[in-house]
Amino acid sequence: MESTDNLNSTRDIDNLIELMAKLPGLGPRSARRAVLHLIRKRALLLTPLADVMQVVAETARECLNCGNVGTLEICDICASDKRANGELCVVEDVADLWAMERSGVFKGRYHVLGGTLSALDSIGPQELRIPKLIERVADEDITEVILALNVTIDGQTTSHYIADQLGGRVRLTTLAQGVPVGGELDYLDDGTISAALNARKDI
């Protein structure tokens, strides 16, 4: 009887630990530590976190235009007139969009595809946001499409497919490939060295 009472008393916390353990980077042990920390800092962390999560759960949605994640139907980037400079950067995932935004260099708008083409996994253009991209290029005043997809076989296959679809309508560019900032040649793979050498420039 006593043991059942004990189980009941920690059931909610166990559920929370179980859910937290499903988050990226967390396992059962680290989830338990995080939950314990939240409980100890109830007023400072747990309650505000629960409130914010509730709000985000109700309001988070994909931007109808670009696929970015926000709380409005049209995200801030798409809504801003300052970002309408005719440049459209195509990325694979929202995480890539956030990475580009962190750099603060790109001042145009984005388009999130939501993945890459994969014939073996039955992921075709309709499963991605490629038709929407073609529609945007036709409707918006786009002058350049920057294909910022991952430098993987799937990423580059998708880039070539999009280039085929948009060929001739706008200027198409891709990100440069080569030695990363802080990179040492000795540690680079032969493909990167080859790409960097091909794209060498005058100094």
Binding site: A119, L120, T152, I153, H160, D189, G191, S194, A195
Partner: protein, 282 residues
């Protein structure tokens, strides 16, 4: 007496001191010449071409590899999603593999070391990229699991090493496709006419049997026959237009035999994409 019998039994089963079957793996350098299978049990070392990868959890990747001595073989790579390993695991990459599992029919895990990356060559152009996707996609689609195809492996390796050489690659791909059909049991017989038995004047291929047919032998059925361009017979300079025609012929058998009979599902779109890119480039 009992001990002697047990010793004989262990010798017959090839169980060594470590409890594993066969001889233990000897450490060898990954690039020190052709690798051979050193153990036929639950631990082996081989070379392979990466066909496909699937993310498994946060850090691991399940890969499918076309191995020289073990055929199409899957396994998990622990840490395969890491920054260090993920760039190595690109389709077409030549890998040095050590596979381990508790039981032979388990998925098992791979230790991988890169031998040769083909990603840079593949990304050099549309045709190379479409070609690499076609080769890896078709192999992942049609090869039976864990069945060695040494001859096809050697041809595939040679074909992938030609990636980026667009002048010769489509013809090499055509020859590889013929070899693939042959290996899978649907080889074309282009040696003589199926009707007249003559070995000259062959211009058609029967869509049903895959045998060559001469113009005379085809008669009124000529319009139902597939083209047999000279490049399929290994004759002539093989211009691109002829190779494209030949790909249409082999494509018929890829769809009707390889995909329908062997796998009972449609051929992946990667081949059609390659042919489309090639046709556009001509």
């Amino acid at each position: 007496m009992l001990r002697k019998k047990l010793k004989e039994l262990l010798q017959a089963m090839q169980i060594n001191a470590t409890g594993r079957t066969g001889s233990p793996i000897r450490p060898t350098l990954p690039c020190a010449g052709p690798l051979v299978v050193e153990n036929a049990g639950m631990e082996w070392r081989d070379q392979g071409i990466l066909l496909k990868k699937i993310r498994h959890g946060e850090t691991a990747t399940i890969i499918e590899v076309f191995c020289e001595h073990h055929g199409r073989h899957a396994g998990i790579v622990r840490g395969g999603a890491s920054r260090k390993i993920a760039p190595v695991l690109q389709p077409g990459a030549q890998l040095d593999l050590v596979w381990r599992a508790r039981l032979e029919d388990h998925l098992g895990s791979y230790l991988v070391e890169p031998i040769r990356s083909r990603a840079a060559a593949a990304m050099s152009g549309r045709l190379a990229l479409a070609g690499l996707n076609a080769v890896t996609g078709i192999l992942a689609f049609c090869l039976p699991e864990r069945e060695a195809h040494g001859g096809l492996y050697a041809r595939t390796e040679a074909l992938l090493d030609l990636l980026g050489q667009n002048e010769v690659w489509p013809l090499a791909y055509l020859k590889w496709e013929l070899a693939l059909l042959e290996e899978m049991g649907f080889g074309l017989d282009l040696s003589k006419c199926a009707v007249t038995g003559q070995s000259e004047g062959l211009v058609f291929v029967s869509p049903r049997t895959g045998r060559a047919v001469s113009a005379k032998g085809a008669g009124e059925w000529a319009d139902r026959m597939l083209d047999l361009p000279p490049c399929l017979l290994g004759l002539g300079p093989a211009p691109d237009s002829e190779v494209l025609l030949a790909l249409k012929t082999t494509g018929h058998f890829m769809h009707t035999k390889l995909a329908t009979v062997l796998a009972a599902k449609p051929l992946p779109q990667v081949r059609a994409r390659f042919v489309e890119v090639f046709a556009t480039d001509i």
